[in-house]
Symmetry: C3
């Protein structure tokens, strides 16, 4: 058993894999922050989706009026969904890319640009910044993921 464990930890001793682990974790934690931000806007805007969430505001119509959508809440939710749509491909393709033997410098470049772009995207969505800030940061993250997908398929294509 200690031999097996050694093998698994050797895995994370590889620098490219460490870089993947670091940036994947950072961008996932960033995505997770969208949840408390949604909760913050739901509470300050008093805009909820479930009757049981408004029970503390009283019963009947006095609580029912808080079952509504709010532009600020919907904005955070769109940002969260956009994160899912883009970070899921990064997670999967990025892991395979890290295992495909890229050189450390190139791998770091991909991971850093992706994570920087997604953090920028969140600020552009939440503040919001005028376009094309959000569109551009989305496109950069998208292009980085496509570049990693190309490397994976070039290295490992087995149809």
């Amino acid at each position: 058993r200690s031999g097996e464990m050694a093998k698994l930890t050797q895995f994370i001793d590889n620098e490219v894999f460490q870089a993947y682990a670091t940036y994947a974790t950072i961008v996932l934690v960033k995505m997770m922050l969208m949840s408390p931000i949604t909760a913050y806007f739901r509470m300050t805007r008093k805009a909820f989706a479930n009757p049981e969430d408004t029970a503390s505001f009283g019963k009947g119509d006095s609580a029912k009026k808080y079952l509504r959508t709010d532009p600020d809440v919907e904005r955070v939710r769109r940002g969260h969904l956009n994160d899912l749509e883009n970070i899921v491909p990064f997670l999967g393709i990025g892991l395979l890319y890290a295992l495909s033997g890229p050189d450390l410098y190139t791998a770091l470049l991909h991971f850093r640009i992706f994570v920087g772009a997604r953090i920028t995207h969140s600020f552009a969505y939440l503040i919001p910044l005028p376009q094309p800030s959000r569109g551009l940061s989305w496109a950069i993250g998208y292009a980085v993921t496509m570049s990693m997908a190309y490397k994976v398929l070039k290295t490992a294509l087995y149809l």
Copy 2:
């Protein structure tokens, strides 16, 4: 080739990795169950999103009235999306955590509490249970994932 295969299966022979494989699979299967539950409510409530799904109810206005939202359907869909938002970070961070060399007992504790919290969350959402059941089960899963993220970054930080 048999040597390579041996290496890959050795991977899943590690107990921490086995635990990750088990709990990740269970919580993903749990998430997948939200799809047939949505379909069940769509059919019993006759509330569909696509015109082609209501074709069996006849043509024109007689079918069109089933293109509507229903509170029970929307509730399951919110639960499903909440699963995606929380289980995706668990999948990615949990895998890296399993590779970061935690001891078996601590790893099992993390995986079990996360999966227990998410199963509770689904029941709390679908029944629904009064708050703070749903909020608390969400928060527990969230905290477990953050704890694993901390361990990953402590072990593998490479910026």
Copy 3:
């Protein structure tokens, strides 16, 4: 370091893992294509979700009328969300399945059917094809993922 790197690339030298890498990347790239398709329909149908996206159409009411939902945009978005709900389980369970030592032929069968089913699902959703095209392609991908989940739990169950 070169020894570690060798170990990681040996990983992707395994044929089952190569097959997983190939099909996971293809189906993730397919999912990513839903984003530009959504953008295409948003622009041709002039239906946007954010005020900052309509700024180029002028100010005030002339731009505000483009903040609306459109059936074609919503259709692509539902297809995209369905992808997330189904491809995320495939990614996680498929990776563990690839590490659980399946024979190459069986693994290829699972990966090919899943990816074929999801590509069919997208066409069925976007054209749209009459039911049960979409329902059936969804069910096939679902069944393949469940079959892999069964193999993972049979191989690695550690509760």
